[in-house]
């Protein structure tokens, strides 16, 4: 339906608004372009209907190079919805909806019939609304009319630039639902720009995350959530969204990475001292390679202080454990089944990776319910919740995945220090980015001489 090949837009002042973008949108697909202000998402959209001309690259709409089509003809064949609606204030609802059909020379009766049909589709009684002027409509009604206006001539492709951005949250949700349903029923192809990740996750068949004029990551909402390409994407999605699905949280993300351990050859007194320092009532026994051999409890050590000298003599084998890459849900099920208060986490070779305790589970719950902004954590329990959350425990290539995971989690742990979170919150400040978008648009308009 829509293909962008190596499309770039460089302004005379040297600003690279869009740089070498390749994008395919299939028929009936709902693709959302998302990114911060100034990432080139709106420019990309406007390149499609030639409101902005690309500096290089080619755009194909239904297989046709757009440069070979008269821009006016092209625009009439593509629906266009903008954030501030831009209804014509001097025209009533029906006339507003009928603008493109009018430009296309439809007879009056056909135009009006179509407008009424569309109004009914979104539950706006034609008799009540047809003669109203934009000023007499609520914001939600105006934007509905704005969407209908884009649908009027039944275009296959519709471009939408933050269409629901200016609405209050409740109306926005309503219109999103309504529109998603409409889109599925009508089978329209949509290219949709937003900076709102929730909107993108909700509406998109596919999300195209843009950064600095380039496509940064593309994928279904699920893919983006599961496999954010890097810290930028994770930050953009927001850690609180990543943790929301408990069955996707992996054991290594919530485990204590430095559980209290000792070796089998350590003495009992030494073991007690470690427990005292770590304030635990047990120790995991590992061999020099870090493989888990067993565990000792404080009571077993104290009971045998006189009869045994090595911890190995009083240790017991660990009955159950979790393997790295497992979901927390599975691990918790096992803990409950065996009435355990903790569960060691091993890798495939049996090397101890960490420990899940009841208190670390509580931390997860806290994180989930209170999001991350008040992320109080135990200082000695680096909770790497946001690490590589988007991992799937069903992945076939276990070995490879786990290795990759190890490095990823380790890196993420560092990056999500509490101080970093403040920055994340800043990014999600909607008002902030709205202001920028406006500036941005004005600049673009100016630069393209409109």
């Amino acid at each position: 339906m829509l293909r962008l090949r190596g499309v770039s837009k460089v302004y005379p002042d040297g600003t690279r608004a869009v740089s070498d973008v390749n994008l395919d949108v299939e028929e009936g697909e709902f693709v959302v372009l998302i990114g911060r202000s100034g990432c080139g998402k709106t420019t990309t959209l406007k390149l499609v209907n030639r409101l902005i001309e690309p500096t290089s690259g080619t755009i194909y709409v239904k297989g046709k190079d757009t440069r070979t089509v008269d821009p006016v003809v092209l625009r009439r064949s593509i629906g266009y919805v903008i954030q501030h609606v831009g209804l014509f204030p001097h025209m009533n609802v029906v006339d507003n909806i009928s603008v493109v059909p009018r430009l296309l020379g439809w007879p009056k009766e056909k135009r009006e019939k179509r407008a009424e049909e569309l109004l009914e589709m979104v539950g706006m009684e034609p008799a009540q609304f047809r003669h109203k002027y934009p000023r007499e409509l609520s914001g939600g009604q105006q934007q509905r009319v704005g969407v209908l206006r884009a649908l009027a001539s039944d275009p296959d492709l519709i471009l939408m630039d933050e269409p629901f951005g200016a609405l209050d949250p409740i109306t926005r949700e309503l219109l999103q639902d309504e529109f998603k349903r409409l889109q599925k029923n009508l089978g329209k192809t949509i290219l949709f720009v937003t900076h709102d990740i929730d909107e993108a996750l909700k509406l998109a068949d596919r999300i195209v995350l843009m950064k600095d004029g380039k496509v940064h990551q593309t994928g279904t909402p699920d893919e983006i959530l599961r496999q954010p390409a890097d810290v930028f994407v994770r930050t953009f999605i927001g850690p609180e969204r990543l943790v929301r699905k408990p069955d996707r949280v992996l054991v290594e993300e919530i485990m204590i990475r430095t559980p209290a351990v000792a070796m089998a050859d350590d003495g009992l007194r030494q073991g007690l001292e470690i427990m005292r320092q770590r304030r635990t009532d047990g120790l995991l026994i590992v061999d020099p390679e870090g493989k888990l051999e067993g565990y000792v409890t404080v009571s077993a050590v104290q009971k045998n202080l006189d009869v045994a000298s090595r911890l190995g003599e009083v240790s017991k084998p660990v009955p159950v454990f979790a393997i790295k890459g497992e979901s927390v849900r599975d691990a918790v099920t096992r803990m409950v089944d065996h009435r355990l208060s903790y569960l060691p986490v091993l890798d495939a070779q049996g090397v101890l990776q960490g420990l899940i305790t009841r208190s670390s589970l509580v931390d997860v719950l806290v994180e989930m319910f209170w999001s991350t902004n008040n992320g109080e954590q135990n200082g000695d329990q680096p909770l790497s919740l946001k690490g590589g959350i988007a991992r799937n425990d069903n992945d076939k290539d276990d070995e490879e995945e786990r290795k990759g995971d190890k490095s990823r989690s380790a890196g993420a742990e560092e990056k999500y220090s509490p101080s970093h979170r403040i920055i994340i919150l800043d990014h999600n400040d909607d008002t902030h980015s709205d202001v920028h978008d406006v500036d941005d648009d004005a600049r673009l308009r100016h630069a393209s001489g409109q």
Partner: protein, 214 residues
């Protein structure tokens, strides 16, 4: 009563002068509109020359009316032509400026929508910009007309017709009744024209824009 009887007695002269007066003002404002509106539209598309031209039109308006009439005489001689030329120049500025600001005042978002939907420049002008700017343009024409109806009386000084002739003659002959027979109708005319054009302005304002004001 005396004055009224006098005015009735020279009714023919007054009506003739009135018609001439209207004709003078009408032609001047008509020309002003014919030139001012298209020029105003042109200026919105040629920003670089817009400010100099608007400035020049503003300067024209600051020239005292008698002086401007004087300037016209060497070119157009005496009688109606120089009067019309001077009045036309006066009428130009409000029409020009209102057309320019009216069209410029259309919300850029509306224009983006119009363009994005596939309107040509001409369609944007005819279907969006002009209808939205029409009340403002009309108000310019109204201001212009009312002023010109007043100033047309001065045309008599350079031999033009109109109610000014009665006033002028009355002054010269020290005939107050004649003077008033010209002054009163011209004042009434200005008020009536203002009222009438106010009505027209209201009529041409798109309904959707009136709602906004309420």
């Amino acid at each position: 009563m005396d004055l009224l009887a006098y005015m009735v007695s020279i009714g023919d002269r007054i009506v003739e002068a009135l018609i001439q007066h209207l004709w003078l003002a009408g032609v001047a404002v008509g020309l002003g509109t014919l030139v001012g509106v298209p020029l105003g539209i042109f200026l919105t598309r040629a920003e670089r020359v817009a400010q100099p031209i608007l400035g020049f039109a503003g300067v024209l308006r600051t020239i005292p009316s008698l002086a401007l009439l004087g300037f016209m005489m060497p070119v157009f001689g005496i009688g109606n032509p120089p009067a019309i030329a001077a009045l036309f120049l006066y009428s130009l500025l409000p029409i020009l400026r209102n057309t320019y600001t009216g069209i410029r005042g259309v919300d850029p978002v509306t224009l983006e929508a119009a363009k994005g939907m596939g309107m040509t420049d001409r369609q944007m002008l005819a279907l969006v910009q002009l209808p939205i700017a029409l009340p403002v343009i009309m108000s310019g024409i109204r201001t212009s007309t009312v002023t010109i109806v007043g100033w047309a009386t001065v045309a008599a000084f350079i031999g033009g017709g109109g109610l000014g002739q009665l006033i002028f003659t009355g002054l010269v002959m020290n005939n107050n009744r004649l003077l008033l027979a010209g002054a009163i109708p011209s004042a009434l005319l200005a008020i009536l024209v203002d009222y009438f054009l106010g009505y027209v302005e209201n009529r041409v304002t798109p309904k959707g824009l009136k709602v906004q004001r309420a």
